[in-house]
């Protein structure tokens, strides 16, 4: 009887180690292709209505660099980065386009925000939930640099600067 305890412990131990090896090396199933990053892939579709009622489609800007900026007027880092986007838009408007997506703001707030702080690029406001999820946005502000072929070249988390955007575009051009 005394000799059985180590034997049982050994069997259980071997079984446990075997299971660890088995499951660690097993294929991960149907969700293996899941990826939270859109970088390097064709940019998810982005269409919608702006604060002034006009329609916007990301595909219309094919051939230019596009900065898709997810923001909210109630988000302090978004407010802080806004002057940089204004600067970038004014300086690099020939080669790049800024398109903002309001995360959770009514049209009146957006109009007020842009009237106060400048910027005349399109801002999508209606039903932006699907777009935010397609781009896997987590924390505002988040921006996605789309190359002229329509692929996501880089994801930028947090506030961005015009100089940073210029540098990335130059390095990827």
């Amino acid at each position: 009887m005394k000799r059985r305890a180590p034997l049982v412990a050994a069997i259980v131990g071997v079984a446990l180690v075997s299971l660890v090896v088995l499951f660690a090396t097993a294929p991960s199933g149907k969700d293996a292709d899941t990826s939270q990053s859109v970088v390097g892939k064709l940019a998810p579709q982005l269409t919608g209505t702006t604060a002034d009622g006009s329609k916007v489609d990301l595909d219309d800007y094919r051939g230019k660099w596009v900065v898709v900026n997810f923001f909210a007027t109630w988000c302090p880092p978004c407010v802080k980065e806004h002057p940089e986007l204004v600067k970038f838009s004014q300086r690099d408007g020939q080669i790049a386009q800024v398109v903002s997506v309001a995360f959770d703001d009514p049209a009146s707030k957006i109009k007020e925000f842009f009237a106060e702080r400048g910027g005349d690029w399109p801002v999508l406001i209606d039903d932006t939930t699907a777009s935010s999820l397609d781009y896997a946005v987590v924390k505002l502000p988040e921006s996605f640099l789309i190359d002229p072929q329509g692929n996501v070249a880089q994801k930028l988390e947090g506030g961005i600067t015009a100089a940073e955007l210029d540098k990335i575009i130059t390095s990827k051009s």
Partner: protein, 171 residues
């Protein structure tokens, strides 16, 4: 002076068993009610709660989408609502989020790869514990379970006879 003895319970052993049975019935009943499956179709609140409880709030610490009021959690719930109305299955809805945010958005660990250990380890640990307990009890019974001697038997027989006589004596 005589001290009045408290009357012995009529069926002490049987009463214990009834209590155990009742407790088991209550536990099984509670588990059965709590574990009943959430609705798989429709756009009910119950189904939305069940689905949102299976998604992590990525803007929070230790909260599910169902329990959070963070802006992203609100958007997740809006999307769940939209997809429920479109007639999507639970798997389709959860896969939609997993494909965008990765598997880590799911509260339920996957049943494959390393994540499966979360499911298997407790079963193995319980099995090992039961085996060890069984072996320990068997060993103890082996040590203490020697047949009683004739003196022991005589002692117990005498004690039982005394007890019977005392119970039969007039008070």
């Amino acid at each position: 002076m005589t001290v009045a003895e408290a009357p012995a319970p009529k069926h002490p052993v049987r009463q214990k068993w009834w209590w155990w049975l009742l407790m088991v019935a209550v536990v099984v009943g509670v588990i059965a009610v709590a574990a009943r499956p959430a609705p798989q179709t429709g756009a009910s609140d119950q189904r939305r709660f069940a689905l949102s409880a299976q998604l992590k709030c990525l803007q929070c610490v230790g909260e599910s989408v169902g329990a959070s009021q963070a802006p992203l959690a609100v958007k997740f719930r809006q999307e769940i609502d939209r997809q429920m109305r479109q007639g999507k299955t639970n798997d389709e809805i959860l896969n939609y989020f997993a494909q965008r945010y990765g598997r880590q958005v799911l509260e339920t660990p996957p049943a494959t790869g390393w994540g499966s250990l979360v499911w298997i380890a407790p079963v193995l640990a319980t099995a090992a514990a039961v085996m060890m307990l069984t072996m320990t009890f068997r060993r103890r019974r082996g040590k203490n379970g020697a047949a009683p001697s004739s003196e022991d038997v005589a002692l117990v027989t005498a004690a039982l006879a005394d007890r019977r006589d005392a119970g039969a004596a007039p008070k």
